[in-house]
């Protein structure tokens, strides 16, 4: 699966969970990380068990790691 397809799939997963305005890009030397940027108001729900479950689904799109950019997206 190409990097672009993984990114699009990851963004659909996030949208499906109601994380509006999330963007994803592939980071790392092997593009192994799904780097997610979300508006600051969505951070709280991603910081617990729900976030880990969503991350599992994003990971299944073909990433090794799923991580949140500490610079939030514009809300």
């Amino acid at each position: 699966m190409s990097g672009d397809a993984r990114v699009a799939l990851a963004e659909r997963v996030l949208a499906g969970h109601g994380v509006a305005g999330a963007t994803v890009d592939a980071e790392g030397p092997e593009r192994e990380i799904a780097a997610i940027r979300v508006p600051a108001e969505d951070w709280a729900r991603l910081m617990g068990p729900e976030g880990a479950r969503i991350a599992d689904e994003v990971k299944a799109a073909g990433f090794r790691y799923v991580a949140l950019d500490l610079l939030p997206a514009a809300g």
């Binding site: 192994e32 780097a35 910081m47 500490l70």
Partner: protein
């Protein structure tokens, strides 16, 4: 609570050894082993040796020195040169083998020169099943693992350490700094310094159980799941602190810290598990 049979088994193993050089990193296990060895064999029969290199965090070196001084553990520091080995620097999945070959090679020579009968490491019963290519080097140098042989788990070692008054009893696990670099990303002194600087800054912010994973220009932070919310609250401070260590982008892993996360990309054939060695 540690069963008396396990305590006595550990002392028996140490008495069998007679006189020992302990590979002493300043971590929970090696500090504990050195302390019990001194108690069992006497100071004159124990030498705790710390390998000093760029891959060891300076706070670990400080801990090793301070605890040795406070608890009467004879201590020596030797410089190890694993960074000079291109097989190590290339950071293959068996990187630890080359590092431990250097360490155990130095310590076995030192033990022979000074008349110590055995060289010991701090592997314990919970390490069985982990990816441990360094254990191959230990076996090749006839290094013994008394904590593992006695069946002591990490929890038991922490409990006994607390009984002994060791300040390391609740210290988080602290493998070498190279363990923060994904396999295949070259280990360089500059990258190790970046990791150390970023982790030191996070420690100053109050985080205890975490890793800064170095993905070239990107830092991926793994913090204990219980501290994720706090990391989010302090995101600006965390971001700035890690960026100052020289990373272009700072990411917070949504699964949090877990032991051996960088082994998650390894195929089964690349794993060298302690307990499965011939």
């Amino acid at each position: 609570m540690v069963a008396e049979e396990k305590r006595e088994r550990l002392r028996e193993i140490l008495r069998e050894c007679g006189s020992v050089v302990v590979g002493y990193s300043g971590g929970v296990d090696s500090v504990f082993l050195a302390r019990v060895a001194v108690e069992t064999l006497g100071r004159e029969n124990v030498l705790a040796v710390t390998g000093k290199s760029d891959s060891i965090a300076s706070w670990m070196e400080d801990t090793a020195r301070d605890v040795a001084a406070a608890f009467g553990i004879p201590w020596l520091e030797v410089e190890t040169r694993e960074m000079d080995d291109p097989r190590y620097a290339a950071n293959p999945s068996n990187r630890c083998y080359f590092c431990k070959t250097e360490l155990w090679g130095r310590l076995t020579v030192l033990a022979a020169e000074r008349g110590y009968a055995a060289v010991l490491d701090g592997s314990n019963a919970d390490d069985v099943g982990d990816h441990r290519p360094g254990a191959v080097a230990a076996a090749e140098h006839a290094v013994r693992s008394p904590l593992l042989e006695a069946g002591l788990t990490k929890a038991e070692i922490r409990a006994w350490s607390r009984d002994l008054g060791l300040p390391t009893w609740d210290q988080p696990a602290a493998p070498c700094l190279a363990s923060r670099l994904p396999y295949g990303l070259a280990v360089t002194p500059a990258r190790l310094r970046q990791v150390e600087r970023a982790e030191s800054a996070l420690r100053s912010l109050g985080f205890r159980d975490f890793r800064v994973r170095h993905h070239d220009t990107v830092a991926r932070l793994e913090v204990h799941p219980g501290e994720l919310a706090r990391a989010a609250e302090l995101r600006d401070a965390v971001h700035d602190a890690v960026r100052r260590a020289g990373f272009r982008r700072v990411l917070l892993d949504l699964h949090g810290y877990r032991r051996g996360a960088l082994n998650e990309g390894l195929a089964a054939g690349q794993l060298v598990q302690l307990g499965s060695l011939a």
